[in-house]
């Protein structure tokens, strides 16, 4: 049998298409904007872990997103930490956010940094980081068409590219620690200390020793699962994600509400006919909700498809950008897209169900 729901959708193709598109845009917004943020942060956290440190020592209340932490740790702490039993390697890092690169710049001591498993693997140029030298990773070099020996302005300071390292390092731009300290106006200060336990030592014992040695500082284990959830703890992150979801849902909700509300007026007489045939309120509400669910489902599928294409295009155009699109994120976008549409249809559906049949039948 020809479905009244399908027939209604087919009879108003422009309205159906606009509704599908609105739901799709909501889904795209959720997946792409949310995906870029969480993808970039997750990648960053993974690369932090990839340094190969066992612990990270920061000021109390410091964030794993170093840009939110000040440069408060004295560099001379490095030597004292090394004296703690079981500690194998320590390297001080000064992190500073570069707005022009939309990423962090690390001021490092190359020698101590390279004692870690995630050391900088130079694939072009020299492994040198002194004075005004800068090491960038391969993706950054490719994006900015850099070669060793070329000038590069970072944080309004002119550097010369000494080497290009393999991607996967914690950040994409490395400058000498003293240079960044000077640029930052924080001489002899660092943001964080990466710490590696000596081979064969009990990590738990090292952690206990560090905690008792520096009770006033934050010590994080990179094995701590909560580190990977740190993006949710980033200041403003939950609010941002909530806003993206709210805007996306509102978009689906409003467009479906307006489309369905208009449709109900257009179909007043048809609703009267249905009522004269004995259609119950539930039948009429169900008919409108079914139509909305189909529209929302098409919108969700369309949105996921476009998001996948957009994601591939973004990664291709901006190799340093990561767009996360996990199964759970897609599932959440689906659920919220459907929910936004269904909520938008509820009022028109109940309004239609409550219509007086005689008034509806005489509607011109």
């Amino acid at each position: 049998m020809e479905s009244i729901v399908a027939a209604n959708m087919r009879a108003r193709p422009a309205r159906t298409f606009i509704s599908v598109l609105a739901v799709a845009i909501g889904v795209i917004l959720m997946l792409i904007v949310g995906g870029i943020v969480s993808g970039t942060l997750n990648e960053y956290l993974n690369r932090t872990i990839g340094v190969g440190a066992d612990f990270m020592l920061q000021q109390s209340g410091g964030s794993v997103f170093y840009a939110f932490s000040g440069a408060t740790l004295p560099v001379k702490l490095e030597q004292r930490i090394k004296e703690v039993g079981g500690v194998g390697a320590v390297t001080p890092i000064l992190a500073k956010f570069s707005a022009s690169d939309f990423g962090l710049v690390f001021g490092i001591d190359l020698k101590s940094y390279n004692e870690f498993p995630g050391k900088l693997e130079i694939i072009s140029g020299r492994s040198s980081l002194v004075g005004d030298e800068v090491i960038v990773d391969e993706l950054y070099a490719k994006l900015h068409q850099l070669q060793p020996g070329m000038p590069l302005t970072v944080l309004n300071h002119k550097f010369t590219v000494s080497g290009i390292c393999r991607p996967g390092a914690v950040v994409r731009i490395f400058v000498p620690l003293p240079t960044l300290q000077e640029l930052n106006g924080t001489p002899d200060k660092a943001t964080i200390m990466f710490i590696k336990a000596a081979p064969g030592t009990d990590i738990g014992a090292v952690e206990s020793a560090l905690r008792s040695a520096y009770p006033g500082l934050d010590l994080r284990s990179t094995k701590d699962a909560s580190l990977l959830l740190a993006d949710t703890k980033m200041p403003g992150m939950q609010e941002f994600q909530f806003t993206v979801i709210l805007v996306s849902m509102l978009l689906s909700f409003m467009v479906v509400l307006v489309a369905m509300y208009t449709t109900i007026f257009e179909r007043t007489r048809e609703i009267g006919i249905l009522k004269s045939l004995g259609a119950s309120r539930g039948f009429i509400v169900g008919m409108i909700l079914k139509e909305t669910v189909i529209i929302s489902s098409l919108g969700v599928l369309f949105g996921i498809g476009i998001s996948e294409i957009a994601r591939a295009a973004i990664i291709r155009a901006f190799p340093t950008l990561q767009v996360s699109m996990t199964f759970s994120e897609v599932l959440t976008a689906c659920a919220l897209g459907l929910m936004g549409g269904a909520l938008g249809a509820l009022y028109p559906a109940f309004k239609a169900a409550r219509m007086d049949p005689v008034t509806a039948l005489t509607y011109e």
């Binding site: 049998m1 027939a7 009879a11 048809e270 006919i273 004269s276 045939l277 005689v358």
Partner: protein, 243 residues
């Protein structure tokens, strides 16, 4: 909703309907007592605004009466909630309208099947769609949409839709009002056949004496009241269209 055995398939007792617009009250029906036996074909005639359509709407449970009873197969639907009246309408009533009222997005078959779907698994046994379609001579039109059908064809589809669930009562609101004389005759012949051969109870509103003459009884209304049940008209229906 216990159904008492009914001598009359339709009975209204002291039925009144008053429309209110702010403080103004407009009586549409005044103490109407009407009885229709099973298998009767009753035509209701009267000038515009005499309450014919209101009476039909109340009989079909589309509206709630201000006062009185509307008893359909032993059930007083005037006392029922909107949902209960809808259920009665679904099970017992088939409507035919002057303007056909087919859903424009569905084909003829879609319209007929929709009525079947709305009826669901009610008590009456629906006809097979093919039986009705053949009986009404619209087999070659079932895949057409209303806009592709003539007025007569649309009305025959509307009759098929009204009949498909085997309703106890057909309520027809000026079924020939939008048709030319040839199609009017065809539709009236169909209604008469349904009444004679299938003993279908029909209540039809009409301005057309020729249409009314097809009925087994004519009820005349004026000013919201039934004047007589005799079949003898006390007004000149031909003058209707002039005013």
């Amino acid at each position: 909703m216990a159904e008492a055995p009914a001598e009359h398939i339709i009975r209204t007792i002291d039925l009144s309907m008053i429309y209110r617009s702010g403080r103004v009250e407009v009586p549409a029906l005044r103490n109407v007592d009407l009885m229709v036996a099973p298998g009767e074909f009753v035509a209701i005639m009267g000038p515009s605004g005499c309450g014919k359509s209101t009476l039909l709407h109340l009989l079909g449970g589309l509206q709630q009466a201000t006062k009185g009873q509307v008893i359909i197969e032993g059930i007083d639907i005037a006392r029922l909630s909107d949902g209960e009246r809808t259920a009665i309408r679904r099970r017992k009533v088939g409507f035919i309208f002057q303007r056909f009222n087919l859903l424009p997005t569905l084909t003829a078959m879609g319209n007929i099947e929709l009525a079947k779907k709305i009826h669901g698994n009610g008590q009456a046994t629906p006809y097979r769609s093919e039986e009705i379609i053949d009986m009404l001579g619209i087999a070659d039109k079932i895949n057409f949409r209303p806009v592709e059908l003539s007025g007569g064809e649309q009305q025959r589809v509307a009759i098929a839709r009204a009949l498909i669930n085997h309703p106890a009562i057909i309520l027809a609101d000026e079924p020939t009002g939008s048709l030319d004389s040839r199609n009017s005759k065809q539709v009236l012949r169909i209604l008469r056949n349904l009444n004679e051969k299938l003993k279908q109870t029909i209540v039809m509103i009409t301005h057309d004496p020729e249409a009314a003459s097809m009925a087994t009884r004519i009820v005349e209304m004026r000013d919201g009241q039934i004047l007589n049940h005799s079949g003898h008209l006390t007004y000149e229906p031909e003058l209707e269209g002039l005013f």
